[in-house]
């Protein structure tokens, strides 16, 4: 049986079905997790999808972080559960302090959707091990508050610890510091990415197939860490 990836639906999640489709294309079995249900239903990994959770009216992700499911996810993530936060999911991970920094209003103040080139910074994460460091990929970016900011110490740490997972190239779409598009936690199981790999999995509907690498990576990671997975399940349950 293939690995099970849970996709969380918050009220206002929009790319949840896309993330589930992408996980399935990548070879996993997607299941839907509900914001109000703190049970992770024994999933092997979790995706926090894009959208506007709870309308994102206060700060993006600020309210979602208090959802019952987030407490369980936070505990499980500290125990090693692979978690990918895409766009709004990245914002939620920052608000929940599972990742450092914050995502703020785009520097030009507009929502912006375009096909974006990225350079993979590190393959040392549960979600990027199938890429090569320095590899260029093309996936869509679309956000109004995607500008990654952090204090200089945090930025230095991210650089020093090889935790910048991807950077914008060919134009920074939102003014992110150090052109940061994606980062990981110290352990590498939690990744937040502003662009949308789930929209680059099908030649008919996306600019490339580069997004599939993220899902292939987590499957590879899970296959190589079944022992740790078992431990996670204990935490999650």
């Amino acid at each position: 049986m293939s690995a099970i990836i849970g996709v969380v639906t918050f009220p206002g999640s929009l790319d949840d079905r896309d993330a589930a489709r992408a996980a399935a294309r990548g070879g996993a079995t997607p299941v839907r997790l509900w914001h109000a249900d703190s049970d992770l239903h024994r999933v092997d990994a979790v995706i926090l999808p894009g959208g506007f959770s709870y309308g994102d009216y206060l700060r993006c992700g600020a309210i979602a972080r208090f959802a019952p499911v987030m407490e369980t996810i936070a505990d499980a993530a500290r125990g090693g559960l692979p978690v990918l936060g895409i766009c709004n999911g990245f914002q939620i991970l920052c608000e929940a302090h599972l990742l450092p920094g914050a995502l703020t209003r785009n520097q030009h103040l507009h929502f912006r959707n375009r096909d974006q080139r990225l350079r993979i910074g590190t393959a040392a994460s549960a979600w990027t091990n199938q890429f090569l460091p320095g590899q260029e990929i093309l996936i869509p970016v679309k956000n109004g508050e995607g500008r990654f900011v952090a204090d200089s110490r945090t930025l230095d740490e991210l650089e020093a610890e090889d935790r910048v997972v991807a950077r914008y190239i060919g134009g920074n779409p939102n003014g992110s510091l150090l052109d940061i598009a994606a980062i990981r936690n110290e352990a590498g199981n939690v990744v937040g990415i502003m662009p949308h790999p789930e929209h680059a999995i099908d030649e008919l509907t996306g600019p490339s197939l580069d997004g599939l690498g993220f899902f292939a990576s987590v499957l590879k990671h899970l296959a190589g860490s079944s022992v740790r997975m078992a431990a996670n399940q204990g935490v999650a349950a």
Binding site: Y54, L58, I63
Partner: protein, 85 residues
């Protein structure tokens, strides 16, 4: 030096989804008994000389507030203690 503070609020009859979202989230952080939350903007204007309320009002009316949906209030706030060198 003094600062003029402009508070911009949605008019009372205008829907405030932002305040509503916050109000709905309050029980999650353990706060109950709140009837309503409304959110506005605070703008601080530092004049290089004496604060000019009339000019501040002009700025608020023409730029800071959208008179179709927002009201604003203006006041002078002394900043002696916080004054930067």
């Amino acid at each position: 030096m003094a600062r003029v503070v402009v508070d911009v609020m949605l008019k009372p009859e205008i829907l405030d989804p932002q305040g509503q979202a916050v109000a709905n989230a309050l029980p999650r952080v353990g706060v109950t008994g709140v009837a309503s939350v409304r959110i506005g903007k605070r703008i601080e204007i530092e004049f290089s000389g004496e604060p000019d309320l009339e000019q501040a009002r002009l700025v608020a009316d023409k730029l800071l507030a959208n008179p179709v949906i927002e009201d604003f209030t203006i006041r002078v706030e002394e900043t002696a203690k916080a004054a930067a060198p």
